[in-house]
């Protein structure tokens, strides 16, 4: 081995060993990074960027501000007590006439969220304003459509004059801005989101609990039975897992409806009278039953994989040392299954809170969970701002739960298999 005067160790090429090592380390690191690079890029491009883009929509009101910049400048000075002046009418007239068809279409959709009717008013105006050649505009505009003379329509614009808004978030919890941008409650007949949030969380928590109660013994049985039986049982768990979601949902309808299998068996057995058949579907009961069955495998599988690794000798030792079976189970066995409980619980809860097809089909009047409203606004009203706000709240709820979980149990205690 070579050595320099300073006592550094050299490789055969005469480069100091430290430098050479660092170099080869760097190449290795680079290689490792290059290996994960495609995946990282994939996640950033298909997951992180779209999520951020969607979330920013929840406060973004720039689009409408690019269509009516001058009108909104004047609007800020308006007293909002009597109809605006000719100046504001003339400005909005010019901006409607000169706006590009697509931009004005989007703007009218946005305006319609704060007051129903703006959409058709703007579209009609865009068509008919071409005939108006010169001012004064106020009367001519009101002649085209009398809604231009209604102060409520003008007042509704108040919440959009800033390029950023919390209006969508307020909407997502049954609040709104009034024309002076003060926060007020929605009129009672339109309050629906808080109730939906409550219903969604309640159903998700209950489904998670039911899955745990049903899944725990099954997983325990699977983990302790001899292989040839447990394999058979495992197929019973997995078979529904592989069956189409819709097939399972519709099967539940057939089983639970009034003249369905379950009620008919009870009537046949004389448990209930024919005229007292139970309403088990098209309500919350139906939603809970169907969702629990559909999500059960997501609880059983993580629990099973954790229980499988617990040596049976621990329980035997506990019993041997004089613990009551219940006590031994509670003190020795259960704590070891916590990682499985957490993984299964989180998995089921996350899936349940975003569910909407099954509840919609079996839930009747109760079937519209928050996922339904996100899908509805995404497709029907094109109110993507509200979708984004609802989605953001959902994400925050999940992250909060995750944080609380991490504080109480510790995230290292989670095990998927």
């Amino acid at each position: 081995m070579n050595q320099t005067a300073k006592g550094e160790i050299l490789t055969t090429d005469g480069i100091p060993l430290k430098v050479s090592l660092r170099r080869s380390e760097r190449i290795n690191k680079f290689r490792a990074f290059a290996l994960v690079l495609p995946l990282t890029l994939f996640i950033i491009i298909t997951f992180v960027i779209p999520i951020i883009a969607m979330l920013t929509r929840s406060i973004d009101d720039k689009q409408i501000n690019t269509v009516f910049p001058k009108t909104f400048e004047i609007y800020k000075q308006w007293d909002r007590k009597k109809l605006p002046t000719e100046e504001m009418y003339a400005t909005i007239f010019g901006e409607i006439v000169n706006a590009e068809k697509r931009a004005i279409g989007k703007a009218s959709t946005r305006m319609n969220y704060s007051r129903s009717g703006w959409k058709s008013l703007i579209k009609k105006s865009k068509r008919k304003f071409k005939k108006i050649k010169e001012g004064p505009y106020k009367e001519q505009m009101i002649a085209v459509d009398k809604r231009w003379g209604k102060i409520e329509f003008w007042k509704a614009l108040g919440e959009m004059v800033d390029p950023y808004t919390f209006g969508y978030f307020l909407n997502a919890v049954d609040l709104k801005y009034d024309s002076n941008k003060e926060i007020i409650r929605q009129p009672e007949k339109r309050r629906i989101y808080n109730y939906t949030w409550y219903k969604t969380v309640k159903i998700s928590v209950l489904v998670t609990l039911f899955c745990l109660i049903l899944g725990y013994p099954i997983a325990h049985l699977l983990a302790t039975l001899p292989l040839k039986y447990s394999n058979l049982l495992m197929i019973f768990v997995l078979l529904p897992f592989w069956t189409s979601l819709l097939v399972r949902t519709v099967s539940w309808i057939i089983i639970l409806m009034k003249k369905g299998v379950f009620n008919s068996i009870l009537v046949w057995a004389g448990v209930i009278a024919d005229e007292n058949r139970m309403q088990l579907i098209y309500n919350e009961t139906g939603t809970l039953i169907a969702m629990t069955q559909i999500l059960l495998p997501f609880m059983v599988l993580p629990l099973y994989s954790v229980m499988k690794t617990i040596p049976p000798s621990y329980m035997r030792a506990a019993l041997n040392l004089g613990a009551q079976p219940m006590h031994a189970f509670y003190r020795v066995y259960m704590p070891q299954t916590v990682p499985g409980i957490s993984a299964g619980g989180l998995l089921v809860f996350v899936l349940a809170i975003g569910y909407f097809i099954t509840p919609e089909l079996v839930g009747g009047a109760d079937g519209q969970l928050i996922g339904h409203w996100i899908a509805y606004h995404l497709k029907s009203t094109l109110n993507w701002g509200l979708c984004a706000a609802l989605g953001t709240i959902l994400l925050v709820v999940m992250l909060t739960l995750y944080w609380v979980y991490n504080k109480i149990v510790g995230i290292e205690n989670i095990k998927l298999g």
Binding site: Y113, G117, S120, I192, M257, K258, L361, G364, A365, T381
Partner: protein, 372 residues
Amino acid sequence: MIKTIKVALLALIGLAFTATAYADFTFVSWGGAYTMSQQKGYIDTWGPVKNGTTKVSVENYNGGLGEVKAQVESGNVTWDVVDILPVDAINGCDEGLLEELDFSSWEKAPNGDSFLESIPDNGTGVGGTISPCAAPQIWWTYVIIYDPKAFPEKKPKKMKDFFDVKKFPGKRGVHTWPQAVLEMALVADGVKPSKVNEVLQGEGGPDRAFAKLEDLKGHVVHWSAGAQPLELVSSGEVVMSIVYNGRAGAAILSEGASFDYVWEGQVLDGDWIAIPKGSKNKAEAIEFLKHATTCASQAEQARYITYGPMRSCGLDVIKKGEPWFHNGIAVLPHMPNTKKRLKKSILTDPVWWADHNAELKEQWAAWMAGNK
């Protein structure tokens, strides 16, 4: 290895090209029995298809202008004819996404009426076309059906019977969105069908409808997919339900189900066919639309589905040819747009609903939540 991949890729690209070369004419609709009726009614009978010069490929979509918009704006229009709802026909034409049509040379009705005159108004407020881009297709309705066995003596005849749970006890099937329900509630409240839109759109109109809906509180089972209400009625879960009339017609005519209709206050809506702006086969597409809207084609389609042809001459052909349905059963009793029925129908107002959709859907959801 790399060479194999190259060869495979080239082959794939080649395949893609041949595939596009074959599909030289694209017709887009909603799928299922409805698309089947279009296929048999006027695609298979179109000259260029019969003599093999053109192959029409049929695609499904879920409505809305999204795809059309994307194609027109990117300049790569692959659809030639699309089946759309009134609101999209109006907006699409306004926004320049659809080709405008000149109907002057299109087929006249046998009685000498011009093409547009042969699309009758009959009190619905819409005669001719709703937009210069839209060629007529069919009328469909939300209608009430009931199980005759549930009412052995007196049968429900009027819309107010649907809202009368004392006279006609039992649960009602209602969909989970407010469209059509509010119009029906107003009819039950005594508004004439021809006046319903005026009342609904006037001051306090929706609130009046919601007040009438209180009569149904606790007696409603909600459905969300078109096949559900038939299942609800035939299984006895409900005694009456709002359904799409085409679904009910199919169940009765093809499967022998024993439902009866209540023909009052049904809410009518149309389907139109149009050409996306910049279609590569525009001339051919216009010829296709002309063929699809002849009296004969309109009638032919009704052999396979009970939606009503928009042109009255289509109905005339059916009248003469009854029993018209493909399996030899009379079809007119199931049609929503005979003259008599149109007078008792309400034509849904797509523009007003586009304005009030979100607001009323929220109010409707709040009503459903309180209705248990």
